[in-house]
């Protein structure tokens, strides 16, 4: 059989054509996706990566609710300029406890993945309530309500942690039982700052050799 008769057969037979299209377009997925689903290095946490604590998890939910990822990415790309500006580039294993990941795709503001420790908690508090108080030409909106609402009101933290445990996050019974008391007296802004102050701490320079 040569290519032309094959072509003719396919064109004259709709069922065969549909099957052919599906088969050909499936090849890409079979090659690209199937092996990755079984790739352990993508599921293995880097040495310092740990599941979010009750407070940090709540902060993360607030981060999602306020749409921070619309303007801030959480991925330092492997480019010299980014290493200079932000620090080590992001590793796959740092995101194993991120459901969903918050990589973002647009940087109206700076990348936040290596934010931990860059500013003090007090600075974050002032900056979130009124960004212009510390960065005069900032275009970030103010989030004054964060200081007025209790973090425990953002949702049932025990249910969240139980659901995440079912997905494989290693929370202990004790951590889940203590979750609610951990959130006592914590305002939304405190939870968000706790989350911001642990962003990017999952990676340590010692792991570099494994690249």
């Amino acid at each position: 059989m040569n290519g032309l008769t094959f072509h003719r057969k396919v064109e004259e037979n709709t069922g065969l054509l549909i099957f052919g299209i599906l088969f050909v377009s499936a090849i890409g997925g079979l090659v690209q996706l199937m092996p990755v689903l079984n790739q352990e290095s993508l599921e293995t946490a880097t040495a310092n990566t740990r599941p979010y604590s009750a407070v940090e998890l709540t902060g993360r939910d607030i981060y999602i609710r306020e749409g921070c990822s619309v303007c801030h990415s959480q991925q330092v790309r492997p480019l010299v300029a980014e290493l200079e500006r932000y620090g080590p580039y992001s590793r796959a294993g740092e995101f194993v406890y991120d459901r969903p990941f918050l990589w973002g795709s647009k940087r109206t503001g700076p990348d936040l993945h290596r934010l931990a420790g860059k500013y003090s908690d007090d600075w974050h508090r002032i900056h979130l309530l009124d960004p212009r108080a510390v960065v005069e030409n900032s275009i970030m909106p103010a989030y004054p309500w964060l200081a007025e609402r209790a973090a425990s009101e953002t949702g049932n933290i025990e249910a969240k942690m139980t659901a995440l445990r079912r997905l494989g996050h290693p929370y202990t019974d004790e951590e889940i039982a203590n979750a609610e008391s951990d959130l006592e007296g914590v305002m939304e802004i405190d939870a968000l700052i706790a989350y911001l102050q642990m962003l990017g701490t999952g990676y340590s320079a010692e792991e570099e050799s494994g690249e």
Partner: protein, 292 residues
Amino acid sequence: MADMPSGFWSGWIIALTLSSLAGVAWLVWSIYYGRDLQEESEVEPVWDEDLEEGHNPPPLWWFWMLFGALIFTLVYIMLFPGLGNYSGVLNWSQGKRVADSYEDFQANFAEARAEVLNMSLVEIQNDLDLMDTAERLFRRECSACHGPDGRGQANMFPNLHDVDWQWGASAEQIEQSIRGGRNANMIAWQAILGDEGVEQVADYVVNLRQGVDESHPGRAMFQQNCVACHGMDGTGNPALGAPNLTDNIWLYGGDMDAVRETLQQGRFGVMPAFGERLDDMQIKLLIALLVR
């Protein structure tokens, strides 16, 4: 793709990729050259009176373009990682590429860096270009807290233009502040001093700069509780981050209300550590900018 889960998946990728390429090559080749024109001359159907299949082959440059793309693909997957565990002739990896370009970047600046590191602070201060760089660095790394001009802001981040520095203004002290950060730890005194005590000590501290009478009611409590950090005369101790209370320079405010609040709640100012974020040359430039 150097960390494929197992040999099976590596083989899976290789087999599917190569057989797809072979299939495309066969299709392209046979459409152009496998076709027997004699055999094709059987009766062709005619539609709508005079509409029939044309017999002109597609243009030849099409064939060469497709064939060229195939050859490019083969060369590419030989050179670069793409076929399962095979890492390619060039042994390329993204991590290695970043590491290499970062090394190049460092090497390009090594000489300039070394030069700056060998200069004295005064020499750096006299070099306008370097001071320009230092100022840009300050705006990028420090201005979010200390303000774009370094004059402090928000009644919380210190002014770097004044003469009274909480943690000391010598080159060594500044370097320590930048590299390791600083954590001030003035505890809350409300529980220890009580309402009246806070009021008396605050009044004592507020009046300290114009001299206070020995008989001031807050004096005893000040002597008992505050001198360990702020010194007998209240002039402070940069080693502990205890500010001088006898001058007119106040971080959180020097009036009665501010001092009362400081005593009641304590103050826990934080300067983050920049030792990991900045290199030695950058730190030296910043010291040259800040020291006087």
